[in-house]
Each structure stands twice: as structure tokens, then as C-alpha cells.
């Protein structure tokens, strides 16, 4: 029991993912700034933002709407992200071997933050938040099937193993899956799914600042918004970590391999940041057709290649 609480709250759980994710968030902002020939924020900027929102600012409750659900939604989001992070990182850091079928549990836990944002936005009673949450719903519908196809491809590659630990072991015994043609295709599809899950720029229509002024987060202030920031930090770490576990050999924590583990995470985040800085925001219809037609087509091609052994 105490060990489980430690797993959840401290080491692979809340504290570790939040701190790592905050540094990754700084990395993301710094790379964005360098791409735009700017100086960029200082290293501890995500921590300043978080503690300012948590400790200094006032939390305003909506007058029309449900204050209780409005406040609970960010807590659920943090909970879902942390649980997903624990289930991803325990096998990945070689602490426990997970359990049979944890891949599907992770898949469902990773959708909890998005659903919490929708519930919180609808509970705020703001029309722009309602627009944002309807966009988020459409975005979830478009990328979830694609993400499931990526996971299906990995399961086919490992001969029907549905736990993360055996997938990592299969890769460490043989070659990482990204070394094959189907692996490269699955990586491309997976990167775009993560981009949409994190709501980064080509797919940031739920929180478009220019048109609907932060959309789903428009009414959040103070501590509630700090919880949302925390969820964003955690998601920025665990989603690349999940992709690394699925396709890029996982982590090995002995000697020089720790450096490789860090570099792998930074490389995936760098790809996400570069996509975000070199693309304009697409319309929701374009995003839906992008995932339903093109990404699903690529994923199905990868599945066919896998069944032929490429």
C-alpha cells in the first residue's frame, strides 16, 4: 500500500512526471523562441507560472454553471494523467512488469484529461468554452481510432502481447520497431496523434487564442488553471515516453543508456515543437479528414506491411 502510494505520488507518479514535464515545457518554449530568433524564457519559467497561478491568483467561479464540476474537472485531469503516467513509467523504468492488458488501460486513461477539459468547459457556462469543447470532442473522435490502430500495429508486431513490459523486452532482445518500414510509418502516425492529444499548434483549435480566446480554458483562473497547467506538463512527458516505449526501444537505466533515454525524450519533443512552429492552425474539418483519411490510410498500410513481415 505504502509502496503504491509512493509510486503514485512521488517517483514515477505525480512529482517526477510533473517536474520532468515542466522542464520539457521549458525546452519546448525555448526551442520555439530559438526558431523565431528570440531569447526565450528562463529555465524555471514553468515553475514560476505554476506557483503564481496556484498561490497568488484568485480563483473565480462561474456565476451561470456548475462551480463544483468546474473545480473537479481539473483534478480529474491531473488524476487521469498521473495514473497513465504511472502505468507507462513503471514498466518503462523497469520497476515492475506491469500486468497483462495494461496497454488498453493506458489507452483509456490517456483520454481522461481531454474528457475532463470538455466537462469543465461545459460546466463553466461560457459560450466560447462550449465552442472549444465541441471542437475538442471532434478532435478526440478523429484521433482516437488512429491512435488505436498504432497500438494495434505494435500488438501485431510482438505476436499478440498486450502488456507494455513484454513489448519493451521484445524490442530490447531484438531490434527497436522503428528500424523497420512499418515502424517508421507507425512513428509518423503516432507523432501526429500525440500532437493532437497535446493540442499543439496544427491541432490547437479547442484552445485557439485568436478566435475563441483560449476556448475550453477561458473561464479558468488561479488554482484551477494551475491544475490544468500541471496536466499539460505531465502529458508533455508521458506521451513521448509512451511512444518511446512502443517504438523506440524503451529506456535502459544503466551507465551511458541513461543519456540515450534523455536524448530520446528530447528528440521526440523536438519533433513535436518543430511541427508546432512550422505549421498554421488547421480547421476542425481539415483535422478530421487528415486523421480519418490520411493517417488511418497510413496506419492501415503499416498494418498490412506488418502482416507481410516488413
Amino acid at each position: 500500500m505504502a509502496v503504491n502510494l509512493f509510486y503514485f505520488l512521488v517517483f514515477p507518479g505525480l512529482l517526477f512526471t510533473a517536474v520532468t514535464g515542466a522542464f520539457l515545457s521549458w525546452f519546448d518554449r525555448k526551442i520555439s523562441a530559438r526558431v523565431q530568433f528570440r531569447q526565450g524564457p528562463p529555465l524555471l519559467q514553468p515553475f514560476y507560472d505554476f506557483f503564481k497561478l496556484l498561490l497568488v491568483k484568485e480563483t473565480i467561479l462561474p456565476k451561470h454553471g456548475s462551480p463544483l464540476i468546474f473545480l473537479l474537472a481539473p483534478v480529474f485531469a491531473v488524476f487521469g494523467a498521473t495514473m497513465a503516467g504511472v502505468f507507462i513509467l513503471l514498466p518503462l523504468l523497469n520497476i515492475t512488469s506491469g500486468f497483462r492488458g495494461d496497454l488498453l488501460v493506458i489507452f483509456y486513461l490517456l483520454t481522461i484529461p481531454s474528457f475532463s477539459y470538455i466537462i469543465g468547459a461545459l460546466a463553466s457556462g461560457n459560450p466560447l468554452a462550449a465552442v472549444g469543447s465541441s471542437r475538442e470532442m471532434k478532435l478526440i473522435m478523429s484521433y482516437e481510432l488512429t491512435f488505436l490502430l498504432v497500438i494495434a500495429g505494435i500488438i501485431m508486431k510482438t505476436e499478440q502481447k498486450i502488456d507494455l513490459y513484454s513489448i519493451i523486452q521484445a524490442q530490447q532482445a531484438g531490434a527497436p520497431f522503428i528500424g523497420s518500414i512499418s515502424g517508421v510509418i507507425l512513428f509518423i502516425v503516432g507523432i501526429f496523434c500525440i500532437q493532437a492529444k497535446l493540442a499543439l499548434v496544427p491541432f490547437d483549435m479547442p484552445e485557439a487564442e485568436a478566435e475563441i480566446t483560449e476556448g475550453i480554458f477561458i473561464e479558468y483562473s488561479g488554482a484551477a488553471y494551475a491544475m490544468i497547467k500541471l496536466t499539460k506538463y505531465i502529458m508533455l512527458f508521458i506521451l513521448p515516453a509512451f511512444l518511446i516505449a512502443l517504438l523506440m526501444n524503451g529506456f535502459r537505466l544503466d551507465g551511458i543508456h541513461i543519456l540515450w533515454a534523455v536524448l530520446k525524450v528530447l528528440a521526440v519533443v523536438l519533433v513535436l515543437t518543430l511541427i508546432r512552429n512550422t505549421n498554421p492552425r488547421v480547421k476542425i474539418k481539415q483535422a478530421v479528414s487528415f486523421f480519418f483519411l490520411w493517417m488511418n490510410l497510413l496506419a492501415v498500410i503499416a498494418l498490412v506491411l506488418i502482416s507481410f513481415g516488413y
Binding site: 518554449r29 523562441a33 523565431q36 530568433f37 528570440r38 531569447q39 526565450g40 524564457p41 528562463p42 524555471l44 519559467q45 515553475f47 514560476y48 507560472d49 506557483f51 503564481k52 498561490l55 497568488v56 491568483k57 484568485e58 480563483t59 473565480i60 487564442e209 485568436a210 480566446t213 483560449e214 480554458f217 477561458i218 473561464e219 479558468y220 483562473s221 488561479g222 488553471y225
Partner: protein
Amino acid sequence: MGFKNYCFKKSLWVFHFGGASCNNCDIEILDCLTPRHDLERFGILLVGSIRHADVLLVNGSINRRDKDRLIELYNQAPKPLLVVAIGACGCTGGIFAEGNTFAGPVDKIIPVNAYIPGCPPKPEAIIAGIVKLVGTI
């Protein structure tokens, strides 16, 4: 208290309210956020929603219609809020001070923490003003 103030001063998020402005101050404010001046190195970001704002930048002369909206925005913002009046119009009314529709400079409507005069103030002046404001926290 020191830690709280330190975090607050390192991460000021700015919401921009343009009154009946001639757009010169708006452009100079945008200049501060461009790569040349880059206010993000001080942690200053432009946010879209007043609920996330720590600083309310007001520029332009405030006429009778703007007055209600400015008060509404001030009431909607979460409370440790700094108000900065930018430009001659925001500080005193400038050449519009005698006008028929003019509803008083910003500090007659809401409390103001810093004034940055100029028509328009240069981006360097705006940054100097923000730095002095941060020093008072």
C-alpha cells in the same frame, strides 16, 4: 510571502485593452513581443482571456462606451492585478481630453499602477516602465 511575490514578478501575463486608440500604441505594444525586444525572456506572455491576466494594459482615450467595458474587464480579472496606462491618451487623455465623448483618463475609472507616457511610447520605454513596475512588487 517572498516566494509568492517572486513567482508573481517572474511570470506576468498581459491582457491588452485598446480603447479608442489611434493604433500607434497597439503597434508599439506588439513590437515589445516581437523577436527584437522579446518580453518572453522576462516571463511576460500575451494571453487571450482576462481570467488568465496579471497585467491589464490600457491604451487609447477612454470614451463613454469604453468606460463600461473597462470596468467590466477590471471586475472580471482575478485579483492581484496590475493596471498599466500606456501612451498620452491613457495617462491623461492627450489631445482628446477636451473631447465630447471623453470619459476621463484611465485612473479616474480604475486604479492604475504604472503610467508610461509618450505618443506613442517607444518599445524601450514600455519595457523600462514594466521593469520599474516589477521592481515595486
